[in-house]
Amino acid sequence: MDRNHLKHQVLNMRRSLFDQLEELKDDANPNFVEEIVTLFYTDSARLIQNIEQALVNKPIDFVRLDDMLHQFKGSSSSIGAKKVKEACTQFGEYISAENAEGCTRALQLIKQEYAVLRRKLETYFQVYRWRDNLDKLRLHICSDLHKEPSGLAICEN
């Protein structure tokens, strides 16, 4: 994979997922996005499990189900997980209608979208770390060569 293609792929993934969260990252908080995503994974695993259990219980407590769903929707929207959030919205409609079968189907959709999101995030972080390491390596190599006043001018070409 050439460098420009990789850069383009990383930029597109960022733009579609966490533009604003990435912009909040700084020297004091360099792992902010990974920390947020880790929290999201923990929350999501717990909520999905609780929602599954709530759908098995008879009679179904739709009020409790709604509360759990909105918690999941809130955290999904806060990391920019649009498709998971949209799946939650669909689920919410079935809860309002007290449609147990619809809720079960909607949960499957949420789990699918969540699985897709996790794969994308894992790829994103792998690419990001690879690119970060590559940049560090370039800087290291450049510092060993004779430098332009800008420091990196030779390596940019």
Binding site: I36, D43, H70, Q71, G74, S75, S78, I79
Partner: protein
């Protein structure tokens, strides 16, 4: 009643900061009230990036206790669904205590009923999650006046 998107305050904000003859902008303080650790972290980072000194509370009772201890804030961002005391109960309690800072409800539902209940409780503004930098900037401008 303020609802929805922030508009284009960010450019104005930058020009104020660049001018040397502008009055010193005070440091704003905020309290974030949400039972979700992820939301607290995101909101805390957003507010800090905008220069706020921010504190968190994980439910309404904690928020009330923080104010009872004598703390004051320029603005409170509060969730609806929380254990022990929800956002509406907390807002009512804070107003009954004489807390008159701006209170912004930040929820994941955004239903008309919820909004009306929050307004009756004494909230000043209402946003649907997620809270973003663009949504917070207008509050910075208002509070600096």
């Amino acid at each position: 009643m303020y609802l929805g998107e922030a508009g284009s305050s960010s450019n104005r904000m930058k020009s104020v900061e660049e001018k040397n003859d502008e009055p010193i902008r005070k440091t704003l303080s905020a309290l974030i009230v949400d039972d979700d650790a992820l939301i607290r972290k995101v909101h805390l980072t957003i507010l800090k990036s905008l220069g706020f000194v921010a504190q968190v509370a994980s439910n309404g009772k904690e928020a009330v206790d923080v104010f009872r201890s004598g703390a004051n804030f320029d603005i409170v961002f509060i969730d609806m669904d929380m254990p022990i005391m929800n956002g509406i109960e907390t807002t009512k309690a804070l107003r009954a205590m004489g807390v008159n800072c701006k209170i912004v409800a930040v929820t994941s539902r955004g239903t008309d009923v919820e909004m009306e209940d929050f307004v009756q409780a004494g909230v000043d503004f209402f946003h649907v999650k997620p809270l973003t930098v663009a949504k917070v900037i207008p509050f910075v401008e208002r509070l600096q006046k």
